[in-house]
């Protein structure tokens, strides 16, 4: 085991570029949360958002500091704690909007355990997939990974929160893809997944089916679910090249756009900043991803690479699903846009994950 970096090394090796990109995206997020909540009952939540960012910065520092090898080593314990927390949510809380997702804390706010579980899953996958990369893989190793992954997955599905559960799939996929699995296995898994789609469809709840069919034809059902999609599309389209201007978007400011500070924050941004703005914003996200990927490639060991790449995959998936939803190319899922959407749990989770990536970068030199 390599020793933790000293203070001097910490600042020299700290990933200032990634931190800068994250900082810029977060600033854009705060400004957009402010604009989207102006004159609504959510007015002022951007200060809450800033508070979460401050806490998130602390967690980022913490996740950067504690050697990731220790975290990986301790991940089975974290996993067990996380699973118990998920079960507790399921067993002891009252449903909010028909789902049990929130665990109350003594500090007066609730946390969405499934968000933090993503971090644990990344560590677990890094731990066991790295093993696969060093020896011939056997059925038992796959079985362990399957249990570790699908046990929390199943609990989250039962909450029910299919979107969040599905959003963890990229972690497993990336972990397996980077390691021993021959490509033909991957093809087989992919085929099985495709075959499972019709079965999965039949098991979906009506509101879930409506989300999927609603996005295909938003004009079909104005005032219902299609209404959200349609209003999002109108907001985006009305933005044009240069946007309507800060706090000038009529769709956002007159509240035609649903949840403009959380799930649809990208639509609010697109209305007020236009195609020019979203191009710059997407470029920031793209550079951030590429920076993480570079960290993954230069990591000292397989665990480090897997951690970075899983974070990249997770972020890419969230960006794709959220922004694709706003562009009316993908169903409405309720997945937040990383680092921008208002909401503490997701923001903190993202910053912890990015802290882990920084951690990997800090310890990339094998002495």
């Amino acid at each position: 085991m390599r020793s933790a970096a000293s203070g001097g090394n910490f600042f020299r090796d700290f990933d200032w570029i990634m931190a800068g990109l994250v900082f810029l995206i977060c600033v854009v997020g705060v400004v957009q949360v402010y604009s989207a909540t102006l004159n609504t009952k959510f007015q002022g939540v951007h200060t809450d958002h800033l508070m979460w960012l401050a806490i998130g910065a602390g967690l980022f520092w913490f996740a950067s500091s504690v050697d990731y090898h220790f975290s990986v080593w301790a991940s089975p314990v974290l996993w067990l704690a996380g699973l118990l927390a998920l079960l507790a949510v399921l067993a002891f809380t009252d449903p909010i909007n028909g789902a049990r997702r929130w665990l109350p804390t003594p500090f007066g706010f609730s946390v969405q355990v499934s968000e933090f579980m993503k971090v644990v899953l990344i560590l677990v996958v890094a731990k066991y997939c790295a093993k696969l990369s060093t020896k011939m893989s056997g059925f038992f190793d796959y079985a362990v990974i399957a249990v570790l992954f699908f046990a929390p997955f199943g609990v989250v599905v039962l909450q029910p929160d299919l979107s969040t559960a599905l959003s963890t799939v990229p972690i497993l996929a990336m972990g397996l893809y980077l390691t021993s699995i021959p490509q033909k296995h991957f093809v087989i898994v992919g085929l099985v997944a495709v075959l499972l789609v019709p079965i999965g469809w039949s098991m979906l709840k009506p509101y879930q089916k409506a989300r999927i069919t609603g996005f295909l034809d938003p004009e079909e059902s104005p005032r219902s679910l299609g209404y959200q999609i349609l209003q999002s599309k109108i907001a985006v389209g009305a933005g044009g090249i240069w946007g309507q201007g800060f706090v000038q978007g009529s769709q956002t400011q007159l509240r035609f756009l649903p949840t403009p500070h959380t799930d649809f924050i990208f639509a609010a941004f697109a209305e007020e900043r236009g195609f020019f703005g979203i191009t710059l914003l997407l470029a920031l996200y793209y550079l951030l991803l590429m920076r993480i990927v570079q960290t993954g490639q230069s990591a000292a060991d397989a665990e480090g690479s897997i951690i970075a790449m899983c974070v990249a995959a997770l972020l890419l998936f969230h960006i794709l699903v959220n922004v694709g939803m706003v562009a009316n190319k993908l169903p409405v899922t309720g997945l937040p846009l990383p680092l921008m959407s208002y909401g503490g749990s997701n923001l903190l989770t993202c910053l912890v994950m990015l802290g882990l990536v920084n951690n990997v970068r800090l310890r990339r030199f094998v002495n």
Binding site: M136, T179, S180, K233, G237, F256, L282
Partner: protein
């Protein structure tokens, strides 16, 4: 076999590259998707956003008022607070709750929307008029939920005098599907209030205003934030009728409880001073809506209250035809002073016995007595001498057998028989006996009360038959630019012949004639009574049915020497001209009173105030 670190590095490099490719592709695709929405279709979504935040409501225009010749209001507009629905913004799921909240049948609401969509009406349509406090409370409580519903002050017709003048004025109602297919209403919208009959329909384009609109900024809760645009409505223009409300009212009083019609007009220009038909109906019902049975009852009423008998009822003219017949005799050079007839109470002709109404007979009579006493035998003989074609020629000169051209829709023509007509329609030759029957205004000949008034009017002023009308020539020039008053039909009658006819018609009223009931002090009234059979006398007496009773006529004018007013009265089953002459007398009495009082402004004075716009 184990993986060497070198192999791991190689694997990692290739798979990281795969991820980079996938990630790049994702970002490119996302940018393309946004390009399509934001740049390529920017205009479309900008418009959609505008439609979202800009709500447009109609500001309904008031319909022009109908005024009598002195400016008294016959029909006006009032405000009705109404709930309108935006067909484009509503959803199927909301309809049952909206219907329940407003106390409407769901089927009705769906039907309205279906009709609106069938006629391509995409703006707001009226769901319920005259909202009550419960409706308003419901709408206030569900304002953000049912944003498709708007409260609008629409304008609705009100007839303050209720049924007075109803047949001439007509009534308005919401345009039905069949109305919208009519040429005159092609440009009107579904749900519009249109003239359905009478003046309301004839001059609908003049009376109808142009709705304005109000645009305001709303948020997604439907709250109105600011007004961004306003187009003022252009109200419809007022229309002065030639009707004199006083004469109209007294005419309708005279008809009260009876079936019949009255037309009073100015023989010098054809202006109609009163046009009444009985029984009447309440035109306000067409605006506020009928109870379920009322509409059916109104339509099935055997007394046909919806019929404007003045222009749509056809009747045998009876003895009122005799002055016209006399004119034909004079002009044809037959009925001179040396043409006499002996009336023993009847006459045998072609194997049939034709009775005079006076059993005892009139003795030997000339034209003057024949008209004054209404001797049938004289006219049997005169008609026989003239022949049917001469009779029908003069009947047509007097305007019988064709529409008078009064400015009302759906006037009927009546019938003046001739030899040609008989052969064409029955393939039978004309029998001379039929001429005898037509001679006293019976048989195949039928006329409308307005034709009777016009015929007597033309005669009264010496052979100038003006087109009867309800909108004066001055006003019509505004209403229908380019229209010129058509010249009256003229058949100048010599002074001798006029004197003969006037004298005879004066005797009817002022002498020993049949129309003594119409006599007035202060003005010399001329006239002619008539009692026309609906069925044969025998059948009438045997059956004893009310609707077989004779119709009673009176047509007269005053003053005799220079006529200013003509009154024609018809009472269906009126039994005796005694009654119809009395109705005419009452009208003339009021006319005389108003004429001698100086307080009344001249109609020209009222017209001078009327501009092309509103009053």
């Amino acid at each position: 076999m184990t993986w060497a670190p070198k192999m791991w590095g190689k694997l990692l490099t290739s798979r990281v590259m795969h991820f980079q490719i996938v990630a790049s592709a994702v970002f490119v695709l996302l940018l393309l998707a946004f390009w399509e929405i934001q740049v390529a279709n920017n205009e479309y979504y900008r418009r959609r956003a505008e439609e979202n935040r800009i709500k447009t409501l109609p500001i309904p225009a008031a319909r022009g008022n109908l005024l009598d010749r002195y400016g008294r209001v016959l029909a006006q507009s009032r405000i009705a607070l109404s709930a309108m629905i935006d067909p484009a913004a509503t959803s199927d799921a909301a309809l049952p709750r909206i219907a329940m909240g407003l106390g409407l049948e769901e089927e009705f609401v769906r039907g309205r929307l279906a009709d609106a969509s069938e006629y391509g009406k995409s703006e707001h349509i009226v769901l319920k008029e005259n909202l009550d406090p419960a409706d308003l409370a419901f709408l206030a409580a569900h304002r953000s939920e049912f944003q498709e519903i708007a409260l609008v002050e629409i304008m609705r017709r009100q007839y303050p005098e209720d049924a007075v003048g109803v047949h001439a004025m007509g009534y308005v109602g919401e345009a039905s599907k069949s109305d919208l297919n009519l040429r005159e209403y092609l440009l009107r919208d579904f749900g519009a209030e249109i003239g359905k009959s009478g003046i309301e329909r004839q001059y609908d384009h003049w009376l109808t205003g142009q709705d304005g609109s109000l645009q305001f900024l709303v948020d997604s809760m439907g709250r109105e934030l600011a007004t961004v645009g306003r187009m003022e409505p252009v109200p419809g223009r007022n229309l002065h009728l030639t009707i004199d409300l006083d004469l109209q009212a007294v005419a309708e009083l005279g008809l009260e409880g009876r079936k019949g019609a009255v037309v009073a007009l100015d023989p010098r220009n054809g202006e109609i001073l009163a046009m009444a038909s009985a029984p009447v109906f309440d035109p306000n019902k067409f605006v506020t809506g009928f109870a379920r049975d009322e509409w059916v009852d109104l339509n099935r009423d055997p007394r046909t209250p919806m019929l404007n008998r003045a222009i749509q009822g056809t009747y045998a003219m009876g003895s009122v035809f005799k002055p016209i017949h006399g004119l034909a005799g004079l002009e044809a050079g037959v009925a001179g002073p040396d043409f006499t007839a002996h009336c023993p109470g009847g006459m045998r002709f072609g194997g049939r016995y034709f009775r005079c109404h006076k059993r005892g007979g009139h003795g030997t009579v000339r034209l003057r007595q024949a008209i004054a006493l209404s001797c049938d035998v004289y006219f049997y003989q005169l008609g026989h001498r003239l022949g049917i074609d001469t009779l029908s020629e003069y009947a047509r000169i007097a305007g019988l057998g064709s529409r008078t051209g009064v400015d009302l829709p759906d006037e009927v023509t009546g019938l003046v028989p001739s030899v040609r007509w008989k052969v064409r329609h029955t393939l039978q030759p004309w029998h001379p006996g039929e001429t005898v029957v037509v001679s006293i205004g019976q048989g195949a000949m039928s006329i409308t009360p307005v034709q009777a008034a016009q015929a007597i009017a033309g005669l009264a002023v010496g052979g100038v038959w003006h087109r009867p009308h309800l909108v004066s020539h001055q006003q019509r020039a505004l209403v229908e630019p380019g229209s010129r008053p058509e010249p009256p039909r003229r058949w100048p009658v010599s002074d001798d012949h006029m004197a003969a006819l006037r004298g005879a018609m004066s005797d009817v009223v002022n002498g020993a004639g049949t129309g003594r009931q119409a006599r007035l002090s202060g003005v010399e009234v001329c006239g002619k009574t008539g009692t026309s059979q609906r069925v044969s006398n025998d059948l009438r007496l045997r059956a004893g049915r009310e609707d077989f009773e004779d119709d009673a006529w009176f047509a007269g004018f005053a003053p005799c020497s220079s006529p200013e007013i003509v009154v024609a009265v018809l009472l269906e089953n009126g039994k005796h001209s005694y009654y119809s002459a009395a109705v005419a007398r009452d009208i003339l009495q009021v006319w005389l009173l108003n004429r001698s009082s100086s307080s009344r402004a001249a109609p020209e004075g009222t017209l001078a105030r009327l501009g092309p716009g509103r009053m």
